[in-house]
Chain length 188, copies 2
Amino acid sequence: MLEIAVLGLLNESPMHGYELRKRLAGLLGTLRAFSYGSLYPTLRRLSEAGWISEEEPLDLPSGPPRSRRGKRVYRLTAEGKEHLADLLSDVGPEAFDDENFGARLAFFAQTRSDVRLQVLEGRRRRVEEKRDGMRSALARTGERLDRYTAELHRHGLESVDREVRWLTELIESERTNAPHKTNTKEEP
Amino acid sequence: MLEIAVLGLLNESPMHGYELRKRLAGLLGTLRAFSYGSLYPTLRRLSEAGWISEEEPLDLPSGPPRSRRGKRVYRLTAEGKEHLADLLSDVGPEAFDDENFGARLAFFAQTRSDVRLQVLEGRRRRVEEKRDGMRSALARTGERLDRYTAELHRHGLESVDREVRWLTELIESERTNAPHKTNTKEEP
DNA sequence: GTTAGCATGTAAGGAGTTACATGATTTT
DNA sequence: AAAATCATGTAACTCCTTACATGCTAAC
Protein backbone atom coordinates (compact mmCIF):
# COMPACT_ATOMS: atom_id res chain seq x y z
CA MET A 1 0.00 0.00 0.00
CA LEU A 2 2.69 2.47 0.98
CA GLU A 3 4.76 1.25 -1.94
CA ILE A 4 2.17 2.04 -4.57
CA ALA A 5 1.33 5.37 -2.95
CA VAL A 6 4.97 6.44 -2.82
CA LEU A 7 5.72 5.38 -6.37
CA GLY A 8 2.51 6.95 -7.64
CA LEU A 9 3.24 10.27 -6.00
CA LEU A 10 6.87 10.28 -7.10
CA ASN A 11 5.69 9.64 -10.64
CA GLU A 12 3.85 12.95 -10.49
CA SER A 13 6.91 14.79 -9.25
CA PRO A 14 10.16 14.21 -7.31
CA MET A 15 9.91 14.92 -3.62
CA HIS A 16 11.59 14.41 -0.28
CA GLY A 17 10.18 12.23 2.48
CA TYR A 18 8.63 14.89 4.63
CA GLU A 19 6.70 16.41 1.75
CA LEU A 20 5.72 12.94 0.56
CA ARG A 21 4.11 12.28 3.89
CA LYS A 22 1.99 15.41 3.70
CA ARG A 23 0.85 14.65 0.15
CA LEU A 24 0.10 11.11 1.30
CA ALA A 25 -2.20 12.39 4.03
CA GLY A 26 -4.02 14.61 1.55
CA LEU A 27 -4.28 11.90 -1.05
CA LEU A 28 -6.53 9.58 0.87
CA GLY A 29 -8.34 12.31 2.74
CA THR A 30 -6.90 11.84 6.22
CA LEU A 31 -7.90 8.18 5.93
CA ARG A 32 -4.29 7.19 6.38
CA ALA A 33 -1.46 9.33 7.59
CA PHE A 34 1.54 6.93 7.66
CA SER A 35 4.23 7.59 10.17
CA TYR A 36 7.83 8.36 9.33
CA GLY A 37 8.67 5.09 11.00
CA SER A 38 7.21 3.29 8.02
CA LEU A 39 7.83 5.89 5.33
CA TYR A 40 11.60 6.19 5.60
CA PRO A 41 12.29 2.45 5.74
CA THR A 42 10.05 2.08 2.70
CA LEU A 43 12.00 4.75 0.83
CA ARG A 44 15.18 2.91 1.71
CA ARG A 45 13.74 -0.37 0.46
CA LEU A 46 12.46 1.13 -2.81
CA SER A 47 15.82 2.77 -3.31
CA GLU A 48 17.66 -0.52 -2.78
CA ALA A 49 15.31 -2.19 -5.24
CA GLY A 50 16.34 0.42 -7.81
CA TRP A 51 12.87 1.84 -8.25
CA ILE A 52 13.67 5.28 -6.93
CA SER A 53 16.88 7.27 -6.89
CA GLU A 54 18.02 9.19 -3.91
CA GLU A 55 19.57 12.56 -4.59
CA GLU A 56 22.12 13.32 -1.92
CA PRO A 57 21.89 16.93 -0.84
CA LEU A 58 24.92 18.44 -2.49
CA ASP A 59 26.20 21.57 -0.79
CA LEU A 60 25.27 24.49 -2.96
CA PRO A 61 28.42 26.34 -4.12
CA SER A 62 27.32 29.30 -2.06
CA GLY A 63 25.69 27.24 0.68
CA PRO A 64 26.86 26.11 4.12
CA PRO A 65 30.07 24.09 3.94
CA ARG A 66 29.61 20.51 5.24
CA SER A 67 27.62 17.81 6.87
CA ARG A 68 24.11 19.16 6.73
CA ARG A 69 21.62 16.39 7.03
CA GLY A 70 19.56 18.09 4.34
CA LYS A 71 16.66 17.06 2.21
CA ARG A 72 17.00 13.89 0.23
CA VAL A 73 15.00 14.24 -2.94
CA TYR A 74 13.64 11.01 -4.38
CA ARG A 75 12.64 10.48 -7.98
CA LEU A 76 11.28 7.52 -9.90
CA THR A 77 13.80 5.64 -12.05
CA ALA A 78 12.99 4.02 -15.41
CA GLU A 79 12.75 0.65 -13.61
CA GLY A 80 10.50 2.30 -11.06
CA LYS A 81 8.17 3.53 -13.77
CA GLU A 82 7.96 0.04 -15.18
CA HIS A 83 7.33 -1.43 -11.77
CA LEU A 84 4.63 1.15 -11.05
CA ALA A 85 2.99 0.36 -14.38
CA ASP A 86 2.93 -3.30 -13.34
CA LEU A 87 1.41 -2.46 -9.97
CA LEU A 88 -1.18 -0.22 -11.58
CA SER A 89 -2.23 -2.88 -14.08
CA ASP A 90 -2.53 -5.63 -11.50
CA VAL A 91 -6.10 -6.85 -11.24
CA GLY A 92 -5.43 -9.66 -8.74
CA PRO A 93 -7.71 -10.06 -5.72
CA GLU A 94 -5.53 -7.86 -3.45
CA ALA A 95 -6.48 -4.88 -5.61
CA PHE A 96 -10.01 -5.14 -4.25
CA ASP A 97 -9.09 -5.04 -0.57
CA ASP A 98 -10.23 -2.07 1.48
CA GLU A 99 -6.75 -0.60 1.92
CA ASN A 100 -5.48 -1.22 -1.58
CA PHE A 101 -8.54 -0.14 -3.49
CA GLY A 102 -8.29 3.43 -2.22
CA ALA A 103 -4.71 3.70 -3.37
CA ARG A 104 -5.58 2.18 -6.72
CA LEU A 105 -8.43 4.62 -7.26
CA ALA A 106 -6.26 7.55 -6.22
CA PHE A 107 -3.96 6.76 -9.14
CA PHE A 108 -6.61 6.01 -11.72
CA ALA A 109 -5.40 8.99 -13.71
CA GLN A 110 -2.22 6.96 -14.30
CA THR A 111 -4.13 3.73 -14.95
CA ARG A 112 -5.29 2.25 -18.24
CA SER A 113 -8.99 2.66 -18.86
CA ASP A 114 -9.67 -1.07 -19.25
CA VAL A 115 -7.83 -1.80 -16.01
CA ARG A 116 -9.83 0.92 -14.26
CA LEU A 117 -13.01 -0.89 -15.23
CA GLN A 118 -11.69 -4.23 -14.02
CA VAL A 119 -10.64 -2.77 -10.69
CA LEU A 120 -13.99 -1.08 -10.19
CA GLU A 121 -15.92 -4.21 -11.13
CA GLY A 122 -13.73 -6.44 -8.96
CA ARG A 123 -14.16 -4.10 -6.04
CA ARG A 124 -17.90 -4.06 -6.56
CA ARG A 125 -18.04 -7.85 -6.63
CA ARG A 126 -16.06 -7.95 -3.40
CA VAL A 127 -18.28 -5.44 -1.65
CA GLU A 128 -21.41 -7.17 -2.91
CA GLU A 129 -20.19 -10.43 -1.41
CA LYS A 130 -19.58 -8.69 1.86
CA ARG A 131 -23.03 -7.13 1.72
CA ASP A 132 -24.67 -10.46 1.00
CA GLY A 133 -22.75 -12.08 3.84
CA MET A 134 -23.88 -9.36 6.21
CA ARG A 135 -27.46 -9.60 4.99
CA SER A 136 -27.76 -13.31 5.52
CA ALA A 137 -25.98 -13.08 8.88
CA LEU A 138 -28.50 -10.42 9.84
CA ALA A 139 -31.38 -12.58 8.60
CA ARG A 140 -30.09 -15.56 10.59
CA THR A 141 -29.28 -13.87 13.88
CA GLY A 142 -31.25 -10.67 13.45
CA GLU A 143 -33.95 -11.32 15.99
CA ARG A 144 -31.81 -12.15 18.98
CA LEU A 145 -29.47 -9.18 18.58
CA ASP A 146 -29.74 -6.43 21.13
CA ARG A 147 -30.65 -2.96 19.94
CA TYR A 148 -27.06 -1.69 19.77
CA THR A 149 -25.56 -4.62 17.91
CA ALA A 150 -28.51 -4.53 15.55
CA GLU A 151 -27.90 -0.82 14.90
CA LEU A 152 -24.22 -1.51 14.28
CA HIS A 153 -25.11 -4.15 11.71
CA ARG A 154 -27.78 -2.02 10.13
CA HIS A 155 -25.45 0.93 9.70
CA GLY A 156 -22.68 -1.33 8.42
CA LEU A 157 -25.00 -2.88 5.90
CA GLU A 158 -26.21 0.50 4.75
CA SER A 159 -22.64 1.66 4.28
CA VAL A 160 -21.61 -1.26 2.09
CA ASP A 161 -24.87 -0.88 0.20
CA ARG A 162 -24.03 2.73 -0.52
CA GLU A 163 -20.56 1.74 -1.61
CA VAL A 164 -22.01 -0.70 -4.13
CA ARG A 165 -24.22 2.03 -5.56
CA TRP A 166 -21.30 4.44 -5.67
CA LEU A 167 -19.17 1.90 -7.51
CA THR A 168 -21.99 1.25 -9.94
CA GLU A 169 -22.12 4.95 -10.77
CA LEU A 170 -18.37 5.05 -11.30
CA ILE A 171 -18.56 2.00 -13.55
CA GLU A 172 -21.41 3.51 -15.56
CA SER A 173 -19.56 6.74 -16.11
CA GLU A 174 -16.35 4.86 -16.93
CA ARG A 175 -18.19 2.89 -19.59
CA THR A 176 -19.79 6.03 -20.99
CA ASN A 177 -16.71 8.20 -21.06
CA ALA A 178 -14.21 5.69 -22.37
CA PRO A 179 -16.20 2.87 -23.87
CA HIS A 180 -13.73 1.37 -26.33
CA LYS A 181 -10.55 3.25 -25.79
CA THR A 182 -7.47 2.23 -23.85
CA ASN A 183 -5.61 5.15 -22.35
CA THR A 184 -2.17 3.63 -22.78
CA LYS A 185 0.83 5.79 -23.34
CA GLU A 186 2.00 3.58 -26.16
CA GLU A 187 -0.26 1.72 -28.53
CA PRO A 188 1.02 -1.58 -29.87
CA MET B 1 -9.79 -5.36 20.44
CA LEU B 2 -9.71 -9.15 20.44
CA GLU B 3 -9.38 -9.06 24.21
CA ILE B 4 -12.54 -7.09 24.81
CA ALA B 5 -14.45 -9.13 22.24
CA VAL B 6 -13.40 -12.43 23.78
CA LEU B 7 -14.12 -11.35 27.34
CA GLY B 8 -17.44 -9.83 26.33
CA LEU B 9 -18.57 -12.97 24.56
CA LEU B 10 -17.41 -15.24 27.36
CA ASN B 11 -19.35 -13.09 29.79
CA GLU B 12 -22.49 -14.04 27.89
CA SER B 13 -21.68 -17.71 28.04
CA PRO B 14 -18.70 -20.08 28.32
CA MET B 15 -17.41 -21.33 25.00
CA HIS B 16 -14.53 -23.03 23.27
CA GLY B 17 -12.23 -21.30 20.80
CA TYR B 18 -13.76 -22.52 17.59
CA GLU B 19 -17.23 -21.43 18.57
CA LEU B 20 -15.87 -18.13 19.85
CA ARG B 21 -14.45 -17.42 16.45
CA LYS B 22 -17.79 -17.96 14.75
CA ARG B 23 -19.62 -15.76 17.23
CA LEU B 24 -16.89 -13.16 16.75
CA ALA B 25 -17.47 -13.10 12.99
CA GLY B 26 -21.20 -12.66 13.52
CA LEU B 27 -20.76 -10.01 16.18
CA LEU B 28 -19.18 -7.38 13.99
CA GLY B 29 -21.01 -8.40 10.85
CA THR B 30 -18.18 -9.98 8.87
CA LEU B 31 -16.26 -6.76 9.44
CA ARG B 32 -13.60 -8.74 11.21
CA ALA B 33 -13.13 -12.47 11.23
CA PHE B 34 -9.97 -13.00 13.31
CA SER B 35 -7.87 -15.99 12.48
CA TYR B 36 -7.12 -18.82 14.88
CA GLY B 37 -3.53 -17.67 14.75
CA SER B 38 -4.50 -14.68 16.84
CA LEU B 39 -7.42 -16.16 18.74
CA TYR B 40 -5.68 -19.08 20.42
CA PRO B 41 -2.62 -17.12 21.59
CA THR B 42 -5.01 -14.51 22.97
CA LEU B 43 -6.93 -17.19 24.89
CA ARG B 44 -3.63 -18.42 26.27
CA ARG B 45 -2.67 -14.91 27.35
CA LEU B 46 -6.03 -14.16 28.97
CA SER B 47 -5.82 -17.48 30.76
CA GLU B 48 -2.34 -16.72 32.08
CA ALA B 49 -3.56 -13.32 33.26
CA GLY B 50 -6.23 -15.13 35.26
CA TRP B 51 -9.15 -13.53 33.46
CA ILE B 52 -10.50 -16.71 31.97
CA SER B 53 -10.33 -20.30 33.14
CA GLU B 54 -9.59 -23.14 30.85
CA GLU B 55 -11.56 -26.29 31.41
CA GLU B 56 -9.47 -29.25 30.37
CA PRO B 57 -11.53 -31.75 28.49
CA LEU B 58 -11.95 -34.46 31.11
CA ASP B 59 -12.67 -37.87 29.69
CA LEU B 60 -16.31 -38.60 30.29
CA PRO B 61 -16.67 -41.68 32.48
CA SER B 62 -18.26 -43.43 29.56
CA GLY B 63 -16.19 -41.66 26.91
CA PRO B 64 -13.08 -42.62 24.97
CA PRO B 65 -10.15 -43.47 27.27
CA ARG B 66 -7.20 -41.07 26.85
CA SER B 67 -5.43 -38.27 25.08
CA ARG B 68 -8.18 -36.72 23.02
CA ARG B 69 -7.26 -33.20 22.13
CA GLY B 70 -10.88 -32.24 22.77
CA LYS B 71 -12.66 -28.97 23.27
CA ARG B 72 -11.27 -26.61 25.84
CA VAL B 73 -14.13 -24.63 27.27
CA TYR B 74 -13.24 -21.16 28.51
CA ARG B 75 -15.21 -19.20 31.05
CA LEU B 76 -14.78 -15.78 32.63
CA THR B 77 -13.33 -15.76 36.15
CA ALA B 78 -14.31 -13.27 38.86
CA GLU B 79 -11.15 -11.29 38.07
CA GLY B 80 -12.07 -11.46 34.41
CA LYS B 81 -15.47 -9.98 35.11
CA GLU B 82 -13.86 -7.14 37.00
CA HIS B 83 -11.36 -6.57 34.23
CA LEU B 84 -14.11 -6.58 31.60
CA ALA B 85 -16.08 -4.07 33.66
CA ASP B 86 -12.98 -1.84 33.67
CA LEU B 87 -12.57 -2.19 29.92
CA LEU B 88 -16.24 -1.47 29.34
CA SER B 89 -16.19 1.66 31.47
CA ASP B 90 -13.05 3.07 29.87
CA VAL B 91 -13.80 6.34 28.10
CA GLY B 92 -10.20 7.14 27.10
CA PRO B 93 -9.43 8.22 23.55
CA GLU B 94 -8.74 4.66 22.32
CA ALA B 95 -12.42 3.88 22.85
CA PHE B 96 -13.25 6.18 19.93
CA ASP B 97 -10.92 4.55 17.41
CA ASP B 98 -12.48 2.85 14.41
CA GLU B 99 -11.59 -0.67 15.51
CA ASN B 100 -12.39 -0.29 19.19
CA PHE B 101 -15.63 1.61 18.86
CA GLY B 102 -17.35 -1.26 17.07
CA ALA B 103 -16.42 -3.68 19.82
CA ARG B 104 -17.52 -1.22 22.48
CA LEU B 105 -20.89 -0.70 20.83
CA ALA B 106 -21.36 -4.44 20.40
CA PHE B 107 -21.22 -4.79 24.18
CA PHE B 108 -23.33 -1.79 25.05
CA ALA B 109 -25.89 -4.13 26.59
CA GLN B 110 -23.23 -4.85 29.24
CA THR B 111 -22.22 -1.19 29.56
CA ARG B 112 -23.49 1.42 32.01
CA SER B 113 -25.88 3.90 30.45
CA ASP B 114 -23.77 6.97 31.34
CA VAL B 115 -20.70 5.35 29.84
CA ARG B 116 -22.64 4.50 26.70
CA LEU B 117 -23.42 8.16 26.25
CA GLN B 118 -19.80 9.18 26.79
CA VAL B 119 -18.58 6.64 24.27
CA LEU B 120 -21.12 7.73 21.68
CA GLU B 121 -20.35 11.40 22.21
CA GLY B 122 -16.60 10.82 22.14
CA ARG B 123 -16.92 8.83 18.96
CA ARG B 124 -19.04 11.56 17.40
CA ARG B 125 -16.47 14.20 18.32
CA ARG B 126 -13.76 12.07 16.77
CA VAL B 127 -15.68 11.53 13.56
CA GLU B 128 -16.63 15.20 13.36
CA GLU B 129 -12.96 16.13 13.60
CA LYS B 130 -12.17 13.74 10.82
CA ARG B 131 -15.01 15.16 8.73
CA ASP B 132 -13.83 18.71 9.29
CA GLY B 133 -10.28 17.73 8.40
CA MET B 134 -11.50 16.13 5.20
CA ARG B 135 -13.69 19.11 4.37
CA SER B 136 -10.94 21.65 4.69
CA ALA B 137 -8.50 19.41 2.85
CA LEU B 138 -11.04 19.18 0.07
CA ALA B 139 -11.56 22.95 0.11
CA ARG B 140 -7.81 23.55 -0.09
CA THR B 141 -6.88 21.02 -2.74
CA GLY B 142 -10.28 20.34 -4.24
CA GLU B 143 -9.81 22.05 -7.57
CA ARG B 144 -6.59 20.38 -8.64
CA LEU B 145 -7.79 16.86 -7.84
CA ASP B 146 -8.51 14.57 -10.74
CA ARG B 147 -12.02 13.19 -11.13
CA TYR B 148 -11.26 9.88 -9.42
CA THR B 149 -9.47 11.22 -6.38
CA ALA B 150 -12.19 13.82 -6.02
CA GLU B 151 -14.83 11.07 -6.10
CA LEU B 152 -12.90 9.10 -3.49
CA HIS B 153 -12.84 12.13 -1.20
CA ARG B 154 -16.46 12.97 -1.85
CA HIS B 155 -17.62 9.47 -1.02
CA GLY B 156 -15.37 9.35 2.05
CA LEU B 157 -16.73 12.65 3.26
CA GLU B 158 -20.29 11.55 2.71
CA SER B 159 -19.63 8.38 4.68
CA VAL B 160 -18.24 10.14 7.73
CA ASP B 161 -21.06 12.65 7.47
CA ARG B 162 -23.56 9.81 7.58
CA GLU B 163 -21.78 8.31 10.55
CA VAL B 164 -22.09 11.57 12.43
CA ARG B 165 -25.82 11.66 11.77
CA TRP B 166 -26.16 8.02 12.80
CA LEU B 167 -24.31 8.69 16.05
CA THR B 168 -26.50 11.71 16.70
CA GLU B 169 -29.58 9.53 16.39
CA LEU B 170 -28.12 6.96 18.76
CA ILE B 171 -27.27 9.70 21.25
CA GLU B 172 -30.75 11.19 21.02
CA SER B 173 -32.39 7.87 21.63
CA GLU B 174 -29.97 7.08 24.45
CA ARG B 175 -30.88 10.35 26.14
CA THR B 176 -34.58 9.74 25.66
CA ASN B 177 -34.66 6.14 26.80
CA ALA B 178 -32.40 6.42 29.82
CA PRO B 179 -32.18 10.11 30.65
CA HIS B 180 -31.29 10.00 34.34
CA LYS B 181 -30.74 6.35 35.08
CA THR B 182 -27.49 4.48 35.40
CA ASN B 183 -27.80 0.84 34.50
CA THR B 184 -25.26 -0.29 37.06
CA LYS B 185 -25.52 -3.65 38.71
CA GLU B 186 -24.80 -2.13 42.10
CA GLU B 187 -25.74 1.36 43.15
CA PRO B 188 -23.44 3.11 45.64
C1' DG C 1 -14.57 -45.41 4.13
C1' DT C 2 -14.00 -40.91 2.67
C1' DT C 3 -15.10 -36.19 2.43
C1' DA C 4 -16.58 -32.18 5.10
C1' DG C 5 -16.63 -29.74 9.04
C1' DC C 6 -15.25 -29.42 13.91
C1' DA C 7 -11.37 -28.36 16.88
C1' DT C 8 -6.66 -26.84 18.55
C1' DG C 9 -2.48 -25.15 17.98
C1' DT C 10 2.60 -23.14 16.29
C1' DA C 11 6.14 -20.52 13.47
C1' DA C 12 7.17 -17.10 10.55
C1' DG C 13 6.27 -12.92 8.80
C1' DG C 14 3.83 -8.49 7.23
C1' DA C 15 2.75 -3.93 7.70
C1' DG C 16 2.47 -0.88 10.17
C1' DT C 17 2.89 2.36 14.99
C1' DT C 18 5.15 4.66 19.04
C1' DA C 19 8.73 6.64 21.16
C1' DC C 20 12.88 8.24 20.74
C1' DA C 21 16.98 10.81 18.91
C1' DT C 22 18.99 14.35 16.07
C1' DG C 23 19.66 18.36 13.49
C1' DA C 24 18.31 22.51 10.15
C1' DT C 25 15.47 26.46 9.07
C1' DT C 26 12.09 29.88 9.76
C1' DT C 27 9.34 32.78 12.44
C1' DT C 28 8.39 35.65 16.42
C1' DA D 1 17.51 33.60 21.50
C1' DA D 2 13.42 30.88 21.83
C1' DA D 3 9.83 28.41 19.75
C1' DA D 4 7.82 26.32 15.93
C1' DT D 5 8.17 23.68 12.06
C1' DC D 6 10.81 21.34 8.75
C1' DA D 7 13.46 17.18 8.01
C1' DT D 8 15.55 12.48 8.67
C1' DG D 9 16.11 8.44 10.84
C1' DT D 10 16.21 3.93 14.27
C1' DA D 11 14.62 0.32 17.71
C1' DA D 12 11.26 -1.88 19.83
C1' DC D 13 6.97 -3.37 19.65
C1' DT D 14 1.86 -4.41 18.42
C1' DC D 15 -1.40 -6.94 16.45
C1' DC D 16 -2.66 -9.50 13.35
C1' DT D 17 -2.38 -12.96 9.06
C1' DT D 18 -0.75 -17.01 6.44
C1' DA D 19 0.64 -21.35 6.13
C1' DC D 20 1.31 -25.24 8.27
C1' DA D 21 0.53 -29.37 11.33
C1' DT D 22 -2.50 -32.36 13.89
C1' DG D 23 -6.42 -34.97 15.21
C1' DC D 24 -11.65 -35.84 16.12
C1' DT D 25 -16.50 -36.46 14.64
C1' DA D 26 -20.48 -36.68 11.78
C1' DA D 27 -22.66 -37.42 7.40
C1' DC D 28 -23.09 -39.42 2.94
